[in-house]
């Protein structure tokens, strides 16, 4: 019978889930809660969770603690990931407020789903058996299907949900099939035992088939080519805040389990999966960036850009070294702020009925609202990976990992494609600064929450670029036991 202290260590997850539940209840009883109130509650609960999380990791006296029969792990890695998820979700909430008002959909369920999904992500970050990981992944996934289709009266939102659901279910089927095969080969789903068993089970054909299918499922979640097909459509169709959240939180969580499983569970096979991931990463970078070149719809362009960035992050993954791990974490952090900032700006510009999505809508923004233009400029610069922004340091770190690990050729593709990316990122800049628009009405900056979020993201982006030291240190707290 597991003792209760161990459950105390789950406090953050539990707190978050409970908050979601309460939100649901209060939203249901009587007139229910207004949009702002629920948003407030959500943010507060997220902040609280963050506090609890910090506390929990403060009381830990060991860098790595395995509890609940080895199904749940507490370490620097999970800690970082959880913080990332919480921050991302909180910012997403801020992004959502105005959007929901315009869409006038019930808010409480929306936030409840966000919170529950977030708790699922927390579990993903800490899950240590394939079972745990998978079930929490499904939690997140299911919530995101619903959120994608949350604006159910919008045909596009519904279509997005449909596509996301069918393809997601299929991919999770594949993933599950892979897990089952691994189980068949190893007879266990617990990662440390798994890696032990696999070291014995060399040459068992179930193993490669298993991790290949598993990998396919995960690549779907992180939107890597060729499993990216859902991304553009879903990103465009889903409500923009949800898109942002998908692009950031769900991607980050998926990368978390990718790293966890492949570094810890399948570390012994790294020679095999590194090459595969290298190929995938190259294809992804090229495809994403090239496809983005001719997109006029900003959200779609951003979708492809997020595909491309998945490719970049994979560079760090395939390095299979601590540096690689840290670089991935740092990059995810920087990428979170940048992407949320971008989508925030998009939301701010978005009129009802999905106006403000094409590049043309950005024409002359520099005159209409210099602030927004400057923000967008900053984020675009960061996405391109030009100093002094977090985007640069992140890419720098990733490529460093690759070069050190001897994957320079992948890094070369990476830098070249990131040069290509300049073209489409700066097309927006070009519209904002170099083109004049017919309409000169200054864009009103109502929605303080949203503006605040954007500003925060901008500051964070700069901070990560100018003084990244502390954040890198934070990333370095996470060490995964892996083979050389």
């Amino acid at each position: 019978m597991p003792n209760l202290q161990e459950y105390l260590l789950l406090a953050p997850e539990i707190l978050l889930a409970t908050a979601g539940l309460l939100l649901l209840v209060f939203g249901a009883v009587g007139r229910g809660m207004g949009n702002r109130d629920s948003a407030l509650v959500t943010v507060v609960s997220l902040v609280l969770t963050g506090g609890v999380l910090l506390r929990v990791h403060a009381v830990l006296n060991t860098p790595r603690l395995l509890i609940l029969g080895g199904s749940f792990v507490l370490d620097g890695f999970s800690f970082f990931m959880k913080l990332l998820v919480l921050v991302a979700t909180a910012l997403t909430v801020l992004l959502s407020v105005r959007f929901l008002e315009e869409g006038n959909y019930r808010a409480s369920e929306y936030y409840a789903l966000l919170l529950l999904a977030a708790s699922g992500m927390l579990f993903m970050a800490s899950g240590y058996t394939l079972l745990t990981i998978w079930i929490s992944l499904e939690t997140m996934a299911l919530a995101s299907y619903v959120l994608a289709g949350y604006f159910k009266r919008e045909r596009r939102s519904n279509e997005a949900a449909l596509k996301y659901f069918i393809l997601g279910a299929m991919s999770s089927g594949v993933l599950l099939y892979g897990i089952s095969l691994l189980y068949g080969a190893a007879g266990t789903v617990q990662l440390s035992e798994l890696s032990e068993a696999l070291r014995g089970a060399q040459g068992n054909p179930l193993v490669p088939l298993g991790w290949l299918l598993l990998l396919a499922g995960l690549l779907f979640k992180v939107a890597a080519v060729p499993f990216h097909v859902w991304t553009p459509d879903v990103y465009v169709g889903a409500p923009t805040p949800v898109t942002a959240w998908l692009a950031v939180a769900s991607k980050a969580a998926s990368f978390a389990i990718l790293l966890r499983i492949f570094y810890e569970g399948l570390g012994s096979l790294h020679v095999e999966w590194q090459t595969i991931i290298a190929i995938i990463s190259v294809i992804t970078m090229v495809w994403g960036n090239v496809a983005a070149l001719t997109q006029d719809n900003v959200k779609r362009m951003l979708a492809y850009s997020s595909i491309a960035h998945a490719g970049y992050i994979l560079i760090g993954v395939l390095a299979m070294s601590q540096v690689g791990l840290w670089s991935v974490l740092f990059y995810l952090l920087a990428y979170t702020f940048i992407t949320l900032g971008v989508f925030g700006t998009v939301i701010l510009l978005e009129r009802r009925e999905y106006a403000g999505e094409t590049c043309a809508d950005y024409a002359g923004l520099a005159r209409r609202s210099p602030f927004l233009a400057a923000m967008m400029l900053l984020f675009m610069v960061a996405l391109t990976g030009i100093p002094p922004t977090g985007g640069f340091v992140g890419k720098f770190y990733l490529f460093a990992a690759a070069v050190q690990a001897g994957w320079s050729w992948v890094a070369v593709i990476g830098v070249l494609t990131s040069a290509i990316s300049l073209y489409y990122y700066f097309r927006i800049v070009l519209y904002m600064y170099l083109r004049d628009s017919d309409q000169t009405t200054p864009t009103p900056l109502q929605a303080p929450a949203l503006v605040g979020a954007i500003a925060f993201c901008a500051l964070a982006t700069l901070a990560l670029g100018i003084y990244p030291g502390p954040f890198i240190e934070l990333a370095k707290q996470s060490l995964l036991p892996m083979l050389p």
Binding site: P2, G20, L24, G69, F72, L131, S136, N204, L206, P208
Partner: protein, 178 residues
């Protein structure tokens, strides 16, 4: 007769395996979703039997209840709800289905290439593992499962509750009329 007693289990397996696959084929080929649902039910039930044959009584039962009961009913409801009288007059398969068949066959070949290279020792199962619980006399598979579920796999169980909550909300949010 002794043949039957000797190989009864095997025969059952072959029978229900056939049913399973047959049902599955029915699902994807039958025009009317109603019939599709029926054959899906066939698959479910025969899979349950296959479970039993691998000494997974509890799972088998769950399979029958949840699938045969819950999910199937859900499907039927929906089918009723959106009564598809104008289904028959549109194409059944997507234009690309030949490719899909080809791909499926290719996958089949590929996977079987892997599978034939595994040599599983003839089932050496120690059935008692599935039925015995330390310290409990006359225990059953259910107890064993329960024990394992509530001790080793408690965490996933909890998470599953969150999952179901999400599913509920989702269904409500999406299904509810404004």
């Amino acid at each position: 007769m002794d043949f039957l007693t000797a190989h009864g289990a095997s025969l059952l397996f072959y029978l229900f395996a056939a049913l399973t696959v047959g049902g599955a084929i029915g699902v994807v080929t039958l025009r009317s979703p109603m019939y599709g649902a029926i054959s899906l039910l066939v698959t479910f039930l025969s899979v349950a039997v296959l479970f039993l044959l691998r000494s997974a009584e509890f799972v088998g039962m769950v399979q029958i209840f949840v699938y045969g009961g819950g999910i199937m009913v859900l499907f039927l409801f929906v089918i009723m709800l959106v009564n598809l009288h104008k289904l028959p007059d549109l194409k059944l398969f997507h234009g690309q289905s030949p490719f899909v068949v080809a791909l499926a066959v290719a996958l089949l070949a590929l996977f079987s290439y892997f599978f034939v290279h595994v040599n599983f020792p003839a089932a050496f199962a120690r059935p008692e593992v599935f039925t015995t619980v330390p310290g409990v006399a006359a225990s059953s598979n259910s107890q064993a499962v329960a024990l394992s579920l509530f001790q080793q796999q408690l965490l996933p169980f909890e998470i599953a509750s969150v999952f179901l909550l999400v599913a509920m909300i989702g269904a409500v949010v999406l299904g509810r009329r404004q």
